[in-house]
């Protein structure tokens, strides 16, 4: 009987790899990752970022605790809905340009791009709770911006390294993410 060995890829290694060396992870591990895990990464990353924003406003007395919970929920919803949706839009656009990448791969790589934001988010929330620091900009915004790098690498991989296609798409996606993020934050 032939035994098929399934290689198990450490999820922690994928998160750290996407943060530090996204090209190699995109090539080797993203296809193996379940949808749910990728969605959980972007959802948790934005949940922690918005939670830090809420906590900063709560600490300065500008908002109540209810707002903190609401902003965390809004962040989780944003990471769960908007980021995969952006991935679907880019996949559809690149399908027209005859990209061979599967929808699952594109959406997973978009969501996993926020691995760095998740690491920053966890660190930020620890500092926020333990030392009462205001961390939304230093850890939150920096983490979300860090995600732009892996996202560009993912778009580039989807277009087979064509800069003329990947750079304009990446610029448009990053602009839309920034605008939607600012609108969502004002809700």
């Amino acid at each position: 009987m032939e035994k098929v060995k399934k290689s198990r890829i450490s999820k922690l290694r994928v998160i750290l790899g996407m943060m530090l060396s996204p090209a190699s992870v995109l090539k080797s591990a993203v296809a193996e990752m379940p949808w749910g895990f990728a969605l959980a990464v972007s959802s948790a990353a934005f949940c922690l970022f918005f939670l830090q924003t809420g906590l900063d406003l709560y600490k300065t007395g500008q908002k109540e605790i209810g707002f903190v919970i609401l902003s965390a929920a809004a962040g989780a919803a944003y990471g769960l809905i908007f980021i995969p949706f952006a991935g679907v839009v880019v996949w559809a656009m690149l399908k027209l340009a005859r990209s061979q990448k599967e929808l699952k791969w594109v959406v997973s790589s978009f969501c996993l791009s926020y691995s760095g934001a998740l690491v920053y988010g966890i660190t930020g929330i620890l500092f926020s709770l333990a030392f009462a620091w205001r961390t939304s900009v230093a850890f939150g915004a920096a983490g979300v911006l860090w995600a732009a790098g892996p996202m560009i690498v993912a778009i580039r991989a989807t277009t087979d390294g064509k800069n003329a296609l990947s750079i304009p798409i990446a610029t448009a996606v990053c602009g839309v993410v920034l605008l939607s993020w600012s609108m969502f934050g004002q809700l």
């Binding site: 060396s21 915004a141 920096a142 732009a148 560009i152 610029t171 600012s182």
Partner: protein, 187 residues
């Protein structure tokens, strides 16, 4: 020969986009929140951005060239320049986000966009070097990341000091104009 043609192709566009990106970074970094279209701030920002971009490009080329002497011998130093210039295209999304945040969202926090963009360039340049050599090497990643981190740090520190310069320039120009027109109030 084929690779040489590829290196030559699109050089003008790569240069133009790089200049626009660094001008955007300079303009957004030294933008006056009370007067976004102040010519002194815009002019100084353009000059500072271009100067920073020039230095960053020279250093990145130099460092990557230092670690890839074999490639330089085989394919010429133009190949290293090509890798760095292609990597610099990764600045486009960050420059667009910086412009949107300052001129549309009216934010004043731009250092994070520049830092994230400069770090992304490091990753991208190492990726391009890997593509040229046919193998991704950790030494290129480390060298590019080191130069990027150094410049990100230098920009963050120096921008705070340089932010005062447009005021001095504007004051100097006004004084000179006053002297030329009315004898500086002495006549």
């Amino acid at each position: 020969m084929e690779q040489y043609i590829k290196i030559k192709q699109g050089r003008m566009w790569r240069n133009l986009l790089r200049w626009i990106c660094f001008i955007s970074f300079g303009v957004t970094a030294f933008s006056n929140p009370l007067d976004r279209w102040n010519l002194s701030n815009i002019g100084f920002g353009m000059a500072a951005g271009l100067f920073f971009g020039y230095l960053f490009r020279r250093f990145l080329r130099g460092f990557l060239g230092l670690f890839n002497s074999q490639l330089k011998k085989e394919k010429g130093k133009e190949s290293v320049f090509y890798a760095v210039d292609c990597g610099m295209l990764f600045l486009c999304p960050f420059a667009a986000m910086a412009l949107l945040s300052v001129f549309y969202l009216k934010w004043s926090m731009t250092a994070v966009f520049i830092s994230a963009g400069v770090m992304a360039v490091g990753t991208a340049s190492a990726l391009e070097m890997g593509k040229l050599k046919g193998v991704q090497e950790i030494k290129n990643t480390i060298a590019a990341a080191f130069v990027s981190y150094l410049f990100s740090f230098v920009w963050t520190l120096s921008a705070q000091w340089l932010a005062r310069a447009p005021l001095y320039i504007e004051g100097g120009v006004n004084l000179l104009r006053s002297v030329l027109a009315k004898g500086g109030g002495l006549l």
